[in-house]
Point group: C2
Chain length 572, copies 2
C-alpha cells in the first residue's frame, strides 16, 4: 500500500497480462521478498532499487507442463541451469526413468536435488513402474510406495497413466493409485497415443491431461472429454506444427505447452520453453495465447496458486523478451532476482558432490563372450528391422548364415548386428539377445560395439555390435563407469559419456555434457557409420521397450509385441 | 467400454461442450450410477433406458458461484426445490447470516440440511462475524472456530473477506483465517465494492474472486490482479447489464455468474441461474460463454473436479433447454435422474421437522413503551434520510418538535418515524434508537409499526413505527413468533411472516413463503404507505449495517459511519 518501500521496482515494461489477455504498456511491477506486491500504470508503492527494462516485454516465468529431467542426462541442479536462461522457471517433472532404477529412493533424490536448483520443480509420480512384466527393472512402485510420496506438497499427482489396458481392466493396484490421487484432489496425467476409442474410460477414471496427441482428431476427442492438451515440442517428439491448427480462442485455455524430453545440445541450439512458444506462434497461435499456454493455463490446471501470472501475490518469476516474434530471452528473474541474461546464468557452476544413494547402479555378474552367442540352427531368424526416424520397427524373418553348430556371426551376416540387453540392477545374469538390421549405412560395417545404460523403461544395459569381443569390452567399460554411453572398437574405448547417477544422469555441467553428447553421436555416425537419419542413442534406448511395435529385446529375451510374448530367435 | 449396459442413454441432444466451446449436434450421453460414462456421436456404450430429448440443448447443471441461502428465507431443502427447476444444480453458499446468529452451530445446521437437498451445496466460511465491533451479534467466529470447519470436504474456502481495513492493517486473527485457508489450497472470496486502490493488497493476501464489482474500471483492475469476477444478478443487486460489455473472448474464462441473494417471489417470476445466463446473453455475451460462466469456469475456479461439464467422469447433472435464447428450462436431471420439468419439481414437498438447534433464537427481556422514548432536548436531531432505490442514506440534521421534557413523538413530527434496534440473542436489553425520514409516501401516515429479525449483519430486532404502542406490540409479536416479519396497527397484527429458524428462515415450502412475502410487502406499500420505490423489508434490514454510509442504528445506539463512532441523537 506504499507504506514501506519494496525491494525492487521494474519499470518501463510491456506486461503480458495473462488474465485479460492483453499487453499493458508502460507498466510497473513492484517486488518484495520474492513476491509481486503491485502491478500497473498507477502503482502507489515505492522501491529501493529500480530495474528499467526499456520497453521490453515482461511475461510470467514459463512453465513446462511435462518433462523428464533424466532424458537431459543432467541432474536437476544442472538441468535448471540449462533451461532457466531460456525462460523456464517452473517445471512439472515425472521422474519415471530414475524410478525404474531406484524406485522411491530415486524419486526422493530428485526431490532433494530439485530444491537446490534455481527453478521451482513440481513432481508427478510415476504410475507404471515397471512398465511391463516382460523385463526386470531396478524397482517396482506399488500403491503403498506411492502413498508415502503423494502427500508431499511438491507432488501434484500421478504421471503418465500409460497402462490403458490396466485402466480398462480395472487392475486393483492401479485403481488404488488413481483413487488415492483423486482423493487428495491431485491430478492424473494421461499417456494415450492414438487410443481414441478408450478416451471415455480414460477420462472417466480421472485423467485430465495428455501429452501424446499428435493428430487433430485426437485433440478434439480429448478436449470434448475434458482432457487438456499438453502440446509437445521436445527432443524426442514434436507435435506443435500438427496440432496448432486446432487451437482457437474458445479452446486455447485448455492447452498447455511442454517438452516431455530435453536434450542439452538441442536446448543450446533452439532454446527450451521459449522455443515451444516460438513454434506455436510460428504455426499460427496468437502470441498471448501461446504465453498463456506456457504459464497461467498450466498453473491453473495443476492448482499452482502462485505461478503463471504477473499479479500481486504471485511469485516474482519473470521473463524479459525484446519482442514477441523471435522470443529471444533477454533476462530472467526468479523470486524478483535476476538469475540469467542473454542465454547464460549469472552465477558460476556450483560444486556439487554426488549423492552416494544414487551412485553404483550397475551390478552385473562376470560375463564372457559366450554370453553373446546366438543360435539359429534352422537357418532362419526373427530379426528387428529398424525404421529411419521412427521408433516403430519391423518384425523380419530372415535367412541367416550359421556355422556348423548353428551359431550366427556378424562376419557371416554383414547386414546384421547383434543386440544384447543385460540386467544390471540385481546381477541376475539375465541376458536377452536379438539381431538388428538397418542401424548402419548401406554397404558399411559398424566395426565394434556401442553400449548404454539408458534403455527404456527398465534401463538395463543395451549393447549392439558386430564383434562379441567388443560387445563384452563395451559392457565392461559401462560397468567400470557405473553407467553411461560407450563406443568400443578393437577392445578400446573410442568415445564415452559417463552417467554415474543411476546410469542415467551425470553431475557434470550442462555445457560439458552437451559437447560430449554431440561428440558421441558424431562418432557413432562418422566412425561407426550409424545412419544419419537415425539418432544412435535414442534408437538403441528404445529397443528394449516392450510396448512399441513390433519386435523388442528385454533382459528376459526377444519379445514379440504383437503376440505380447517372448519368442525364440530361431524360426521353427 | 460397452461391456455392461448403462442405466440411461440420452439421445438426440445438442450438447453444449464447454471444453471446446461449441455445440455438438445429435449427441448421445450415457449415464450410470450418477456419473457420465460416455458422450459423443459414436459412443460404444449401451443402456437399459433411453431419454430422447428431441433435439433440445443439453448443458451442464448450472452453478451459482455465490449465494446466501438465508436471504431467500428458505431452508436449504426448500431453497433447492425453489431453484433446481430453473437449472441450478450446484451452489456455493456463504452462511453468513445464520453464522451471525448461531455461529458454527448455524453453519453446521446448514451443512446438515444441505445434504438432504436435491442439489449439491458447497460452503464458503463467513470470514467476518461479527461484521463490526459496533453491534452485538449472536456469535463471533474466531480463526479457531473456523479451523474446525475449514477441513470439511464441502467447504471450499473463506467467504467475503469484507474487512478490507483489517486486511490492510494485518489484523492477527483475520490473517490466521487467511493463512489456514491458503494452506489447504482453498479459495478466498473478496468483497470490495469500489475500493479500487486496495486491490493489490487484497490480491496479495490471496483473494481470487469478487462479486461486488459494479463498474467497468473495477472489473479491469480486478482481472489484471488475478481476481476473477463473479457477475451478479440477484434480488438485491443487478450488475450484469453494466458489466457484460467488459467481457470478450480472451477474458471470459475469468468470469462466473452468481445471484448473491435470491428471493422466492423473484425466482418464480424470472428464474434463477437460467435468468442470470439470460441477462448476460441479452447484454451481448455469447450464449456458450454465458453457459461456461455458469458451469465450467466456476467449477475450475473452486476445484470442483466433477462439476460443470458434460464429459465422462463428471456428475450427470444436466439442464435441457429448448433454445439458447429464452432459456426456459424444459427438464433438469441430477445424478442422471429427472428431478424437475417445466418449472416444477417432480417430487412432492417433503415433510421436514425443524431442527431444535436453530429454533428459539429471539431472547429479549420484558419491554415497555418507555424503551422507545427519544429525547432531543436541543430541538435538533440527527436523522436518517432514506434514498429511493439505494441502500446508502443521508445523515440529516433536522429541527424536531419536542414536548416540554424534550421527548420526540411522531405525532408532533409527522414526516419522521422512530427506529429501534433491540438486541435479541442474549437478552441484554440493549436498544439503539433513531429517527428516519423518507420511508413513507409524501403526505401519508405510516400508522403503526413494522418489525423484523432480518437486520444486517447481527440480525437483531429492527422495528420502525410512528406509535410506541404499536412498536412494542410488533416486538412482542416477533418474540411470540420467535422470528419473522410483522406489521402492526392499533395493537393488532395486520400481516406477518414467521421465520422460526434463527429468525431468518422458515421451514414452510417456497411457494407459500413467496406468496406470504409478496402479501407482506404489498401490505406495507398499500396499507402502511411505504414508498413504492422502496423495498420495505430490505430497507429496514440494512438500517443497522454500520458499514454503509452515512447514518445507522445498531443495538448499541445511533452510529455515524463517516466518523466511525456512535453519536447521540440530540444535536449538541
Amino acid at each position: 500500500m506504499g507504506n514501506i518501500p519494496c525491494e525492487t521496482r521494474i519499470t518501463n515494461a510491456q506486461l503480458v497480462d495473462v488474465f485479460t489477455g492483453s499487453v499493458i504498456e508502460n507498466c510497473e511491477i513492484y517486488v518484495d521478498q520474492g513476491k509481486i506486491i503491485d502491478v500497473g500504470c498507477h502503482c502507489k508503492a515505492s522501491a529501493k532499487q529500480t530495474i528499467d527494462v526499456g520497453g521490453a516485454y515482461v511475461t510470467p516465468g514459463l512453465i513446462d507442463a511435462h518433462v523428464h529431467i533424466e532424458s537431459s542426462m543432467l541432474t536437476p541442479v544442472r538441468f535448471a541451469r540449462l533451461v532457466v536462461p531460456f525462460g523456464t522457471t517452473t517445471i512439472i517433472t515425472d521422474p519415471h526413468e530414475i524410478a525404474n532404477v531406484l524406485g522411491t529412493r530415486g524419486i526422493r533424490y530428485m526431490m532433494r536435488e530439485a530444491k537446490r536448483s534455481e527453478m521451482t520443480v513440481f513432481f508427478m509420480l510415476p504410475s507404471c513402474v515397471p512398465a511391463t512384466p516382460f523385463e526386470t527393472s531396478g524397482a517396482a512402485l506399488s500403491s503403498d510406495d506411492l502413498a508415502d510420496l503423494i502427500d508431499e506438497p511438491e507432488v501434484l499427482g500421478l504421471a503418465e497413466l500409460m497402462n490403458v489396458p490396466g485402466v480398462i481392466a480395472k487392475e486393483d493396484d492401479l485403481l488404488k493409485k488413481v483413487a488415492m490421487t483423486l482423493n487428495l484432489g491431485k491430478r492424473i496425467d494421461g499417456h494415450s497415443p492414438l487410443v481414441c476409442g478408450a478416451t471415455p474410460a480414460y477420462a472417466g477414471c480421472g485423467v485430465t491431461s495428455d501429452h501424446e496427441a499428435s493428430t487433430v482428431s485426437e485433440v478434439n476427442e480429448r478436449l470434448s472429454h475434458g482432457i487438456r492438451l499438453f502440446m509437445r515440442e521436445g527432443a524426442a517428439a514434436q507435435n506443435v506444427e500438427a496440432l496448432s491448427q486446432t487451437i482457437n480462442e474458445r479452446n486455447a485455455r485448455f492447452f498447455s505447452l511442454c517438452t516431455d524430453d530435453a536434450s542439452p545440445d538441442d536446448v543450446y541450439t533452439n532454446g527450451h520453453m521459449n522455443h515451444v512458444v516460438r513454434r506455436a506462434v510460428e504455426n499460427g497461435v496468437d502470441p498471448i495465447e501461446a504465453i498463456r499456454m506456457a504459464t497461467i493455463n498450466t498453473a491453473l490446471h495443476f492448482g499452482l496458486k502462485n505461478k503463471g501470472a504477473v499479479a500481486p501475490g504471485f511469485d516474482a518469476d519473470f521473463v524479459i523478451f525484446n519482442d514477441l516474434t523471435h522470443w529471444q530471452v533477454k533476462q530472467v528473474l526468479i523470486a524478483g532476482k535476476p538469475v540469467a541474461e542473454n542465454g547464460s546464468m549469472l552465477t558460476p557452476e556450483p560444486v556439487i558432490e554426488s549423492d552416494r544413494e544414487v551412485l553404483g547402479c550397475v551390478k552385473i555378474p562376470m560375463l564372457t563372450t559366450e554370453a553373446f552367442a546366438i543360435r539359429a540352427h534352422s537357418g532362419k531368424a526373427h530379426v528387428i528391422g529398424l525404421h529411419d526416424g521412427d521408433l516403430i520397427n519391423d518384425h523380419l524373418t530372415l535367412e541367416v548364415k550359421t556355422d556348423t553348430k548353428g551359431f550366427v556371426s556378424c562376419d557371416d551376416n554383414p547386414s546384421l548386428l547383434k543386440l544384447a540387453v543385460i540386467e544390471r540392477h540385481h546381477a541376475t545374469g539375465n541376458i536377452g539377445l536379438g539381431l538388428v538390421k538397418g542401424f548402419v549405412k548401406e554397404g558399411k560395417r559398424f566395426g565394434g560395439a556401442m553400449a548404454s545404460t539408458i534403455a527404456h523403461d527398465s534401463h538395463n544395459i543395451v549393447v549392439v555390435g558386430d564383434s562379441d569381443d567388443d560387445m563384452l569390452a563395451a559392457v565392461k567399460a559401462i560397468e567400470a563407469m557405473q553407467g553411461g554411453l560407450v563406443l568400443v572398437r578393437n577392445g578400446r574405448i573410442v568415445k564415452s559419456l559417463t552417467l554415474e547417477i543411476a546410469g542415467l544422469m551425470t553431475n557434470e555441467p550442462a555445457p560439458i555434457t552437451a559437447v560430449r553428447k554431440t561428440q558421441f553421436i558424431n562418432s557413432a555416425h562418422e566412425l561407426f557409420h550409424v545412419k544419419e537419419s537415425m539418432h544412435p542413442v535414442m534408437t538403441l534406448s528404445f529397443l528394449p521397450l516392450a510396448v512399441i511395435p513390433h519386435l523388442r529385446v528385454t533382459d528376459l529375451g526377444l519379445f514379440d509385441v504383437d503376440s505380447f510374448k517372448h519368442i525364440d530367435i530361431n524360426v521353427q
